[in-house]
């Protein structure tokens, strides 16, 4: 019987296994890097039609989040302001700035300003702003320090793991209600008031859903 395989083929199975392991490793690393929310989302800071600076409006002008995002404590969806809201001030301030031309146009014609969507959850996940901000979860938890941003960037992965971390352990993330819209405030836990945080959870009967039905419908 003639030799079907040369002697060098003896090492082939091992080589195949090694190649497969390496290949699988590369694939895993690639998927982890390129496809998980931590990498695909965090840092996303698209160019907006109007170079709106949150830092200027919050820190210099002193606007509250709810001046523009006026329905965040009423609706599941936190609204982006209408051009009319901008024009409340900008009909007087910088009323001829070329940078604000899209706003003026929108106000006059009714056509929307195409703001680029940054923070989002998948269509099958139903996040609700009002319940979070009304019950001690600050904007900063998910959006980062928007008050210091000139260009809004995605700061947290907003993945299911990110949500569940907090839902499993709300004590660590709650603020006093007065601090919710103060993005420079600290959580009760960070202020060293763990007991107050636990009391808050108890008295407010805070029980963030950890079941599918909490977010998926």
């Amino acid at each position: 019987m003639s030799k079907l395989f040369p002697k060098s083929a003896n090492g082939l199975p091992l080589q195949i296994v090694i190649y497969l392991v390496v290949l699988a490793g590369i694939a895993t690393a690639g998927v982890t890097y390129y496809m998980t929310p931590k990498y695909t989302r965090v840092g996303y800071a698209p160019v907006q039609p109007v170079p709106f600076s949150h830092a200027k409006h919050v820190q210099e002008v002193g606007l509250d989040c709810r001046y523009c995002h006026s329905n965040v404590d009423k609706s599941g969806h936190s609204n982006v302001p209408t051009a009319q809201t901008c024009m409340n001030c900008h009909s007087v301030v910088k009323s001829t700035s070329p940078l604000l031309a899209p706003i003026r146009e929108s106000y006059e014609k009714g056509t929307p300003v195409p703001w680029v969507w940054i923070h989002t959850t998948p269509d099958y996940a139903y996040f609700n702003h009002s319940i979070h901000v009304n019950r001690g979860v600050s904007c900063v938890e998910c959006h980062g320090k928007v008050n210091e941003m000139d260009t809004v960037a995605h700061m947290q992965p907003l993945s299911m793991a990110f949500c569940i971390d907090c839902h499993r352990n709300p004590e660590a993330r709650l603020r006093e209600p007065k601090d919710v819209f103060n993005l420079d405030s600290k959580t009760l836990a960070d202020q060293g008031r763990q007991k107050d945080a636990i009391d808050l959870v108890h008295n407010w009967k805070v029980k963030p859903p950890q079941s599918c039905s909490g977010c998926h419908r």
């Binding site: 302001p81 056509t111 969507w117 009304n134 019950r135 009967k205 419908r217």
Partner: protein, 1118 residues
Amino acid sequence: MKRKFEHPAPSAGELTGPKYWRSLDDLAGTPGFKAQLGREFPEGAAELDGVDRRHFMKIMAASFAFGAAGLAGCRRPERNILPFGKSVEGVIPGLPQYYATAMPVRKWAIPLLAETHQGRPTKLEGNPTYTPHGGAASMLAQASVLDLYDPDRSTAHTKGGAVLKADAVNALLASIGGNHAATQGAGLAFLADESSSPTRARLVAGLKTKFPRATWAEFEPVADEPPASAAQASFGVNVKPVYHFAKAKRIVSLDCDFLHSEAGSLYYARGFAQGRRVAKKGDPMNRLYVAESGLTLTGSMADHRLRIASSHMLALASKLAAVLVPATRDMLAPYASGLDVNQKWVDECAADLLAHRGESLIVAGAHLPAEVHAIAYGLNEILGGVGKTVDFVRVPASGASSISDLAAAIKAGSVKTLVILGGNPAYNAPADLDWPSLQKSVGEVIRLGYYADETSAVSPNVTHLAAAHYLESWGDARTADGTIVPVQPMIMPLFGGLTQNEVIARIAGETNADPYALVYAGISGRAGADAEKTMRRFLHDGLLAGSAYEKVAVKFSREGVEKLFRDPVKSPAFSKDNLEVRFVKDYKMDDGRCANNGWLQECPDPITKLSWDNVIQVSPKLGKELGIDPKGSLLQVARKEENEFIAGKENSHVFELTVGGRKIRGPVHIQPGLSNYTVIVALGYGRTVTGHVGKDAGFSAYPLRTSSAMHIATGAKLTDTGARMLLANTQEHWSMEGRDIVREANFEGANSYQENPAYVKTIGMEAHSPSIVGEAGEKMTPQQRATLIPRGNSLYVTPQFDGHHQWGMSIDLNTCIGCNACVVACQAENNIPIVGKEQVMRGREMHWIRLDRYYSSGTADGAAFGGEGNRELPEDPQISLQPMTCVHCELAPCETVCPVNATVHDDEGLNVMAYNRCIGTRYCANNCPYKVRRFNFFDWNQRSLDQLYMSQLAPFGTPELVKMVKNPEVTVRMRGVMEKCTYCVQRIQNGKIQHKVKMAQAGRPGDVMVPDGSIKPACAQTCPVDAIAFGNILDPNSAVSKAKAREQDYAVLGYLNTRPRTTYSGKLRNPNPKMPDYGTLPLSRVEYNRKNVPTGHGAGHEHTSEAPVAGGKKGGHE
């Protein structure tokens, strides 16, 4: 008041879409390749041969390119947030808004609340401000929102194929008025559908003043109100009856399907349920006697049901009158002759009515002749019902001509211009008029229609005007009791449709033809100085308080009625060669207006359980005589099936039905409960010019109808064509097989509810076994039992039920009338797709709720259980209805078999489905004992019904218009995932959130318990009879806890230890012991006893066999 705002146009980025689709098309753009890809499941195995190696490589290359392009798709697509330019008052993005409106139906209307999302109506609910309906809406009202987004609706005004602009239409309408002004309207004729709109009535009056010689005719193919002539003859005034079923303890229905088919049926059903509901021992219960030819929903609720032909109703009414009022015996004797009915039935029924003077009610079907109604009115007065169980209200006299008058005028050549407003006469006018050729003979025809249908397609010279949907119109209407309700637009007309009021106003040359102004003028005419305020209140409340028709104290005039009884007709004798045909309004299609509504087409008929088709219903006896007695199928366990089935598809015989030389062909369906020689044919199908959905659905029965026999025809004959036809029947098996699925008892008598209110506990497996919750569980309160789940040893870890609320439901089988409103409400709320006839025949329908309909005859004796197996179909069965949906088992069998934990419990006791986890193994559906899980075999939401079999590579997508009806709060499911009832989890979560937000803002953040009644699933919300209670079972005072505390509350298949959160309240029947057809037990119980008590075989043992069962229960529990 509704605001008008423009929808933002999509940006350029939205319109172009992802690029990689295009490169794939470039690579494999040949039509042949596309066709190859397009068919994923080859219809024949031979098709595999068509794929050679080269082709295979090409496909692989395409897939590879697709994959490579796909990597780029991992980056997020850029999407935009598009806020309004100017803020819109009251609009909060993300929160729905509710506006009051109403759905006009012939001469009545259903007041509604429309839920809109960013100006887009998605769901309709009854307006709770209108208390007679209590927030309920009918199946048709629930489905009507789909019509708004029907891609087949007419989208333009056309003339001879050319599109007419709005200006041209206005000029045309003005010119009609102008041209006929000189002749005072001679040569001008109108044909409209019936309407209750006060504004239309005012405009028509104006029209008649301006054009006194014009003809105004109205036509409706079906009747849902008693003939005006009956009231005129009886009382001498123009009144109509409004029945108060809630006050009636004894009800006799003469062929009257008051629970569904009559005007005001929502109020009637609600009242009937009020008198029917038994919450505790000592509560009264009404008794319903029904005489009918077909089997209707009302008949299915009857305590005593008499099958007689509709033509014999006058004889029966005369017999009843002769017993109740002996003085009329001589006058009515000729009418009562020839009726083959047990006299004892009539005598005892009459005695029962007399024993309940002032609390009894006799109603007659709208299709019956005036004589029957006159008798019913007279008997109601004699029984003291007038003013108590029935009121007579003054209705505006209709000055309209009939369609026959109009036809005569057209034939005489005196009509030059014909304006057809709504309706569809070319399809549904009486056949003897030959409407299409009449219409052709008129010089100018203008047609306002929602669809470019048969009437618009009669000849090319018809000017078709697109009508607006009621959800895009300003208008008004009156409910059955006369309360004026607004028809308020939710959205600007999508295709520039017109309303009837506008068209009439323009022809009449009114100065302001704006539809809103027309309504406002009517309100200001009533309100006077306060018009603006009254109008706002009118729109806010959705009704004008105190505007109901005036009640009239009537006096029955015997002389007037005697005029009706001049020439006695003997009741005809029917046989196989002389059949009676009863044309009925279809439960779903109505008169044909709903033919292109997919939700309604697919919803199974409540009685026949057929979807997508109508049938010629025949009685089992007639079926046998016609030689189509079904042989039974291999699937049957113990029974003969009522029809033949091939692999789940009803294989019907196609027959030809002949009446007076006119013929139609249709499939025959054997329907128990019919009068022996009456065939029932539902109208509304067989549309020839309609949209994609209604095309090829059923056959039209209109060609059989003539002006003289609109509702009942005699002398019909059925002949076999030899052809067969497959039908989509969703319930093949009609028997409970002597099981305890629906548990029933008599209200009074031996073994009755009065003797043992907890009768449900004596039936079923649980009655014989130790308690499934064990001794410990028996001692617990219901609240403890729900959260702690007492149970024995098991490897399976019980879910933790530690949520603030624990949701549960209780369905009262005693009041459920099987109307299917819940099925369609659920479909609208939860984005449930339709699947088409072909897929329904494969058992792939997606309804989350199904209404099971069972027949019991008491004689059934299963072969599998030692009996002989019954050889006859029940001719006169008792009907048991049961809505069945996911019962949210606390120990759910579906959860233990899911390999990916896609179906699990949440902490509030919901059995939830995570669609994005589901991989579609369907193990859960297999393991579900209630068979309530539904699988997405195809991309129902992405493909039209004729493209389902295309592969993932074929183009996807539905028209934007169709997407607009979707509820944004519910995920639209994709192919390959399982779905089922969620208890409307979106409503639960939003309800909880809204309550918590409200409380937090009110400074009471610790108050997280949602008040009872604020969260209602779509089914419970719309249920006309309030049969469904839903809420928190941890709260012992909640409606659902109280419902579950009723002694007749039981779990279906409870012995499986599934611990369902949805339980059912047993059904009660209230037969009269003196009646000849009295049974001491409901027939389903008789069957149960025959099967389960070995000694109980044979007649007369039913009573005694009950004792061992009760004894078994005792033994089990102690």
